[in-house]
Amino acid sequence: MSPQATVPAAGSPEAPLLELRGVSVSFDGFWALNDLNLRLAPGELRAVIGPNGAGKTTFLDVITGKLRPTRGDVLFQGRSLVGTAEHRIVRLGIGRKFQTPRVYQNLTPRRNLELAVSRRSSPFDLLFGRLDSTARDRVQHLLGVVGLEPHANHRAGGLSHGQKQWLEIAMLVAQDPQLLLVDEPVAGLTDEETERTADLLKQLAGEHTVLVIEHDMEFIRDLQAPVTVLHEGHVLCEGSMDQVQVDPRVIEVYLGSEAEGEFR
């Protein structure tokens, strides 16, 4: 199939920040992504949902360069990302938060953030350059925002699960990316923490473009963002939460095949 044929009509007024064109990924004959098309406008907050195995994480892997698509193209600000190394993609302005919190356990939260906030990333910059005062202020500010100031100088490995989640989000923000890819940010968080996370993400949208993958439907509803439903590696439907919720195909996919009860 020709990727061009399936691109949605160029209806949106602005050029998209991120565009996936007919992306397919095959693992030994199993198609984890199958002709996936998606556009994200600058400043947008978008939620992506889908049952297990729908290809959500693979989808992030393709954008961030961890996986190379078997077919199709990923464009960021009109530029193809296919074949670009992960760290370069990050430097172009795409940040990613992982499903399970991944912070550097043996460094303190402050040092975690200092690594993330650094504009320059070559070994020599780290050896000979010093962190400028704005960056240091930013680290301090972020520590305050996520409430880790008291723990700033202890090993991050000792933080609670929620604190690690927040630290990782803070690291993501410290990178100041144009596009934030957030994979299940509220897994394992308390209700209160979940609410605060939703607020934080909403704040970030506008200035940043945010794409959230989540299972927690309450959280998605809180976000009040357009929703894209993935199923078997391609987009099943898009729309607001209310629209998606009543879409018979979505109900079929969730209740018919998976029946996990998480779609409330």
Binding site: N106, S122, L127
Partner: protein, 381 residues
């Protein structure tokens, strides 16, 4: 001025005072043979620092440090072989294999300045290139270890088989060469070399501490703990790993050169598989990720080896094998790690002595204070 003598300053200065004193005192009190041994073990401490840098801090277990160690040794060995010749002469062994003219790659080693750089730049370059190729392909963990071991074997067999180029199995000898007109193997020169080793070991230690203490060190630890995450923070781990592997290579080169002049010979034996694995065990026993542990481990284990093999050569393999097992299963952070995490205190606690407490709790443990407390509590009740 007053704080010049405060305990903090004193504590900081004390190790340096001890090092300087030892460096001056030991040559005077130790017999030449023991001094020479110590010098050699200390130079092995430098290669161990490199191993600690790449394994302890960056998580790459190289089983091929012998390559860089030997390259450094050979660079210096070649210079010394050429340096003690009359003009126009060839090192003796060439004539035995019918080689008429000096191979081209030997020529630059006639220059002392070139050699001085070559003995660490060449190992660093080789390490850098090898490392870059491997790291670029994201080969890591045990695959990296196995590949470095394979590379070691390649170098070993090559050096071993090339009689005509570098004298094969025999290697190059240095004891009968001369520097500044003095015999390298003479006691006086060996004493100077010992002092040089102390200076360079301290220098190497400081270099490693500088590398690991700042944000660069944070990046290394981050790579060790979660390399993919590091990429998604916008760093290219390949560059870091290559650089740090090259630094370890350079340290190995310096170490090999020092070891060579103090042993009197450099031979492919330095590239034997067990030797490179031993380097790792020095670091493991001393405590990886602690720097000082690497040096301590190298000196202690080699000293033990020397002692045991003087008395009972056959038990050494048992002891060494046992050390591997003990360290890996019971002391994962090595001696220094155990010490720092309060190991001695735990042992004390086990036998019922009060743990040493440096601050307020000590007050609480004071019997008089406790009695007073009990009295007060009793009174309140």
């Amino acid at each position: 001025m007053a704080d010049l003598f405060s305990s903090r300053t004193l504590r900081r200065a004390l190790p340096w005072v001890v090092i300087v004193l030892l460096a001056l005192l030991l040559p005077a009190v130790l017999p030449p043979f023991r001094l020479n041994l110590l010098g050699r073990f200390l130079s092995l401490g430098i290669v161990a620092l490199g191993v600690d840098l790449i394994w302890g801090f960056t998580g790459m277990l190289s089983l091929g440090q012998g390559i860089f160690f030997s390259l450094g040794g050979y660079a210096l060995g070649m210079y010394l072989s050429l340096n003690s010749l009359e003009p126009g002469q060839l090192p003796e062994f060439f004539s035995l294999y019918g080689v008429q003219s000096l191979p081209a790659f030997w020529r630059p080693f006639g220059s002392p300045l070139f050699t001085l750089f070559a003995l660490w730049v060449i190992p660093a370059l080789v390490a850098g290139v090898l490392g870059y190729l491997v790291f670029r392909n994201r080969i890591k963990g045990v695959y990296f270890s196995i590949l470095t071991q394979a590379a070691l074997l390649v170098f070993f067999n090559f050096f071993n088989g090339q009689q005509k180029l570098i004298n094969g199995t025999n290697g190059l000898k240095t004891d009968t060469a001369r520097i500044f007109g003095e015999l390298v193997g003479s006691d006086g020169m060996q004493r100077n070399l010992f002092l040089l080793t102390v200076v360079l070991a301290v220098g190497a230690f400081l270099l490693c501490r500088w590398l690991t203490s700042g944000r660069f060190g944070d990046a290394l630890i981050a790579i060790r703990d979660d390399e993919p995450r590091m990429r998604f923070t916008g760093y290219n781990p390949t560059a870091y790993k290559t650089l740090v592997f090259a630094v370890a290579g350079a340290l190995a080169g310096v170490s090999g050169a020092l070891y060579t002049v103090q042993s009197g010979i450099v031979s492919p034996q330095f590239m034997a598989v067990p030797f490179s694995i031993e380097m790792v065990i020095w670091v493991a026993v001393g405590g990886r990720g602690t720097l000082i542990g690497a040096v301590l481990g190298a000196v202690l284990i080699n000293y033990a080896k020397s002692l045991v093999s003087e008395a009972l050569p056959e038990t050494w393999l048992f002891i060494q094998g046992g050390l591997f097992l003990l360290v890996v299963t019971a002391l994962p952070d090595g001696l220094v790690g155990w010490w720092r995490s309060g190991g001695p205190g735990r042992i004390q606690a086990m036998v019922g002595w009060p743990p040493v407490a440096a601050t307020y709790p000590e007050l609480d443990l004071d019997p008089a204070v406790q009695a007073e407390k009990a009295e007060l509590e009793g009174g309140a009740r």
